[in-house]
């Protein structure tokens, strides 16, 4: 479903990613880890099409992708309601969503424990509540691939756990392919997940089980 073939990304003289090669099959759950400045977000940006590789090729067979960017890149101090932000996640930009769409939004708001905030202004929400709104925006149109760039950074620990349960449900029940960039692997991982360790290039790519062995050989993620 996703294939990277000798992908390099250069910013001027700085080589952010070197010779990245991997294949990701449909229905996989991949965690991308690595130290700060290791190129994780650069890799994600090439995946979602925000950044073109300097050379190499990227093939993606997914009609529809969902994306949760790192929170600091999104303005939340504007006069806009939760409703407006969620509507902007629909594949087709529509003025009024259908009845089914409304039901879907309602169920997600309940899952995210923010049903009372639908017509609230984003400026009145806490960082964690805003992040839940952006999560709904990313999944509302039922994407084939869901790409999350450090989604839990703004979430409080109690909700973080529920969030990972939700991701697992999306993966298992809806067979969604999930690419998850994280600082903290520990509370996210199920045994059938894949892990990629990035440090300017792919240093490790394999099962979570094998990643333990890789770590014990002296590589540590941040």
């Amino acid at each position: 479903m996703i294939e990277y073939d000798h992908v390099n990304v250069l910013f001027g003289k700085f080589q952010a990613l070197t010779d990245v090669n991997f294949r990701l099959e449909k229905g996989s759950f991949l965690h991308i880890v690595g130290p700060n400045g290791s190129g994780k977000t650069t890799l994600v940006k090439t995946l979602v099409g925000l950044l073109k590789p300097s050379n190499g090729s990227i093939t993606i067979h997914a009609p529809h992708m969902g994306y949760l960017p790192q929170k600091l890149n999104t303005k939340t101090n504007l006069p806009m309601t939760v409703r407006e932000v969620i509507y902007s996640g629909f594949k087709k930009q529509k003025i009024k969503p259908s009845k089914e769409d409304c039901e879907l939004i309602k169920s997600w708001l309940e899952r995210m424990e923010i049903p009372h905030l639908f017509d609230e202004s984003m400026t009145h929400l806490s960082g964690g509540q805003q992040q839940r709104v952006f999560i709904i925006r990313a999944i509302i149109s039922n994407p084939d691939v869901l790409i999350l760039d450090e989604p839990t950074s703004a979430l409080d620990p109690s909700f973080r756990e529920k969030f990972y349960l939700l991701l697992n449900e999306l993966h298992q029940k809806y067979h969604m392919t999930i690419v998850h960039v994280t600082h903290d692997l520990t509370d996210a991982v199920k045994d059938d997940c894949l892990v990629m360790y990035v440090d300017q290039t792919v240093k490790f790519y394999g099962s979570y089980h094998d990643f333990h062995a890789f770590e014990h050989r002296g590589h540590h993620h941040a």
């Binding site: 099409g49 960017p69 902007s88 003025i95």
Partner: protein, 268 residues
């Protein structure tokens, strides 16, 4: 009391004023809430040079000024996308160079029948019929543009990366927004003045975002309040014989101050 409404120049001023108010308020949230408020101010300076150049080169300065300022707006947009110059620096560069060239042409140009003061302050009561039609045309163009691209413009305003990710043509829409802003500014400079036209773009969103929770209401309240303020401005300015542009800006400012004082009180 409303006798003066029967004068055709007042009627014309009202049509131009309302058309410009609607145009500016429709552009306002997409520029102001996207940290591009100063682009209107910069383009007003460019218009100054554009119109003077137009006076020198042709009988109808607007035909030179409109493409000139549209090109400048595209240049500003282009410069601000390069990594070496940031957005406000690009506006500062292009606008100061244009203004300087404008002043040199005025000083050295022969046979000018245009005063710098009238360029800086503008006069809505002496506007021509062509300017009235152009005001209506720009209102229609901006109206259609915002209506068609509203959702896309909204996403681009609050999350440009997400807009790119969803395959919104951010370059094309961004350049179109700049070009329409330029067109609006040129028409506005002649009637409201070089120094004050940017206020018409900046105030609506700043005022309406004090009142509105949603982006849509910010846009709508901005449009309605601008229409009211421009009409009030014309009604107040004419009998007092003070410039309309200045009156409008003072009214906007008074309402903003009023809102800023009241807002903490009704929150309690």
């Amino acid at each position: 009391m409303l006798d003066f409404l029967s004068y055709s120049f007042i009627q014309q001023a009202l049509v131009i004023g309302i058309a410009l108010a609607i145009s500016a308020a429709l552009l306002s949230p997409f520029l102001v809430l996207n940290q591009q408020a100063m682009i209107a101010d910069g383009l007003a300076h460019v218009s100054f040079a554009g119109i003077i150049l137009g006076v020198v080169l042709s009988g109808e300065p607007l035909w030179i000024a409109i493409p000139f300022v549209m090109l400048a707006s595209i240049l500003i947009k282009y410069l601000s996308t390069t990594k070496t110059i940031n957005g406000d620096a690009a506006i500062g560069l292009v606008s100061s160079i244009s203004f300087a060239i404008g002043l040199i042409i005025v000083k050295k140009g022969q046979g000018f029948n245009i005063s710098i003061e009238s360029m800086l302050v503008g006069n809505i009561f002496t506007a021509t019929l062509t300017e009235m039609y152009l005001s209506l045309i720009i209102m229609a163009l901006i109206g259609v543009f915002v209506l068609i691209f509203y959702r896309k413009l909204f996403v681009m305003t609050y999350d440009l990366n997400y807009a790119k990710f969803t395959k919104i043509k951010v370059q094309l829409i961004g350049y179109t927004l700049s070009a329409l802003t330029a067109f609006f500014i040129v028409i506005g400079v002649r009637t409201i003045g070089t120094l004050l036209i940017s206020a018409l773009v900046v105030f609506p969103s700043v005022i309406s975002s004090q009142l509105a929770k949603s982006f849509k209401n910010t846009l709508l309240i901005g449009v309605l309040s601008s229409i009211l303020i421009v009409i009030m401005g014309i009604f107040v300015a004419h009998p007092l014989e003070i410039p309309v542009g200045s009156t409008i800006v003072v009214l906007y400012a008074a309402i903003l101050v009023f809102l800023l004082i009241l807002k903490p009180l009704w929150r309690k």
